[in-house]
């Protein structure tokens, strides 16, 4: 299982992109998914520099593929006030999916991440996530909109 209640933060209080990435990466670190949190964050920020992962509609999907990742993971964070992300539509983001992928990731896991990415283009799924107020609702939305 890549995603469970333990990998969700419903009240992210970060003000900056870097801050948000660090807070969410700490959740992954606590779950034992990382070899080195600093090295992982570096890979995510390097990726952000190519161009922002704020894809519009209040969504950001920061990600890093690095040997600092032990196991593929998804951490989800929700921010009420929004985080400035230099997004495609210039708007702050409220739904953040932090993805971690080891160098030698299994295809099965990469598939799950690709399906999640596709699902983020589904307005209904995104609306569901935006309306969700509890971790249970988030998990339910994931279940309703595909297998995870």
């Amino acid at each position: 299982m890549l995603f469970n209640e333990g990998m969700i933060c419903m009240d992210l209080n970060a003000l900056t992109k870097e801050d948000a990435i660090r807070q969410l990466a700490m959740i992954a670190a606590d779950a034992g998914k990382l070899v080195s949190i600093d090295e992982y964050i570096e890979s995510v920020l390097a990726r952000e520099k190519t161009y922002s992962t704020g894809v519009g509609n209040g969504i950001a999907i920061p990600h890093g593929r690095s040997k600092a990742v032990k196991e593929t993971f998804i951490v989800f964070g929700k921010s009420g006030r929004g985080v400035e992300w230099d997004a495609l539509d210039g708007k702050p983001v409220h739904l953040i999916f932090l993805l971690g992928v080891p160098e030698a990731a299994e295809n099965e896991h990469l598939k799950i991440l690709s399906q999640l990415s596709r699902r983020l283009m589904n307005e209904n799924f995104v609306e569901h996530l935006k309306r969700s107020e509890s971790k249970n609702e988030i998990i339910q939305a994931f279940k309703d909109f595909g297998e995870n």
Binding site: R47, T50, Y51, T53, V55, G56, I61, H63, G64, R65, L88, D89, L99, V101, A105, N107, L110, K111, L113, S114, Q115, S117, R118, L120, M121, N122
Partner: protein
Amino acid sequence: MKIVAVTSCPTGIAHTYMAAEALEKAAKKMGHAIKVETQGSIGIENKISLKEASEADVVIFAADVAVKDENRFSGKPVIKVEVQKAIKNAAEVIKEAEAMIEKSSS
């Protein structure tokens, strides 16, 4: 109109697939047939064959890294956009494709 498209991005984890989904949705909504090949971390999926490439009216590359096997599409009208643009405004990319076809057929 028959469209074939290839999407790819630097890490091949997220944008490749978001762009594919966005293009598929927009094209279908606008009444076109589309096949989108993703060149991502999983490798090539939904591969466009030589036959499909030759039958296409127009080709879209929503790619930030070099498209593999690009010579499949030689001689075809090709629209190249950044992968971000396909995510942000896929309908506009499809419209560009329509305009290109109109131009070449008139």
